[in-house]
Symmetry: C2
Subunit: 189 residues, 2 copies
Amino acid sequence: MDNNKPDRRVRKTKAILRKTLTKLLMEKDLKDISVLELTDAADINRGTFYLHYKDIYDLFEQIEQETLEDFLNIIVRYKQLDSPVWTAVMLDLFKYISANADIFIAVLNTKESNFLTDVIEISRPKTKQEWHKLFSTGKEEYYEYYYDFFTFGCIALVRSWFMKGMPESCEQMAELIEKLMLSCISGLK
Amino acid sequence: MDNNKPDRRVRKTKAILRKTLTKLLMEKDLKDISVLELTDAADINRGTFYLHYKDIYDLFEQIEQETLEDFLNIIVRYKQLDSPVWTAVMLDLFKYISANADIFIAVLNTKESNFLTDVIEISRPKTKQEWHKLFSTGKEEYYEYYYDFFTFGCIALVRSWFMKGMPESCEQMAELIEKLMLSCISGLK
DNA sequence: ACCAGAAATCAACTGCATGTCTATTATCTG
DNA sequence: CAGATAATAGACATGCAGTTGATTTCTGGT
């Protein structure tokens, strides 16, 4: 029987390490966390850590990667529709973020994180395509700039919302972003 | 005589270390550069490094700090005028950036950098004030979000421009940013 | 319930960068 | 030139990183 599911012990160990790292990341930056500190806090043998990860950055990247995949799955779900509704996608994303707040606090606060830039680069081609449909008369040579401007702006928005303790609802945030996108895109015309 | 200017030897050593670090940062990330590697490349005794800096992050932060001060000086120059011209400030900043390209490549690529967020937080109060003057009817509770969106967007723009090898002129970039600010701000109304 | 395989633990070891210190040499400032 | 100060060379203790081998514990399949 091809049981591709990993051993329960492995799942447990990895889960504990991931959880412990996100907890530690609330207090200090990744660069200041040693493997020993992590495994002590997780009550896991230090050697066991190296059974699964190259170093502490490797572990962090795997956490990022997992979150990224969840994120992309949400987006993909909508991409299959004929006319993806922007606000609906954003709403789902905001819901996912608030449901996984602990991970996102860690990811958004960790300087070494690649999560945000990864999201940006992955969604770039599709988004450019969408924008192109909407504004076929635009200056194409500036598309990249508008895209970078907009996406980083969104990230900042989310981060800011997050750090304030998410006072606005997911719906409000999704609306706000849609509004900003429209006014930003209108510059392309 | 209270000569507060540091010894020539100190100035030389610090300059070499700063220069060498920015050079190394073009190849690899800060976290992967050891003191030994730096001092070897700089042909400086390792002990000498510790005479001036706590660790390699300390050195990097001092480089950031210096650049930040230059940056703020440019902005301050305009803030004293009655009606600061946005495009003119941006133009000067773009010129400063392109003149100090080597440092900015290092700063923009270094994940541990605080430079950008520092610039943002320092200019936040003034900018909010300016925007308030322009759009007194806006929804004040959303100002923070608009500000974060806009400033991070600008940063992304600059980074993108930079990474492409600065194909557009400083003038074009300053114009582009002004345009984006206007369409972004118009959402506040 | 049992067994074979795999994972976790423990202890030990090497290697490397860090940070500190001292004695010595080189350089600067007035 | 002379006193002060910075830079160097070399050595040292320390701590974490990674790896290894022997041992114990747990797990999934039969």
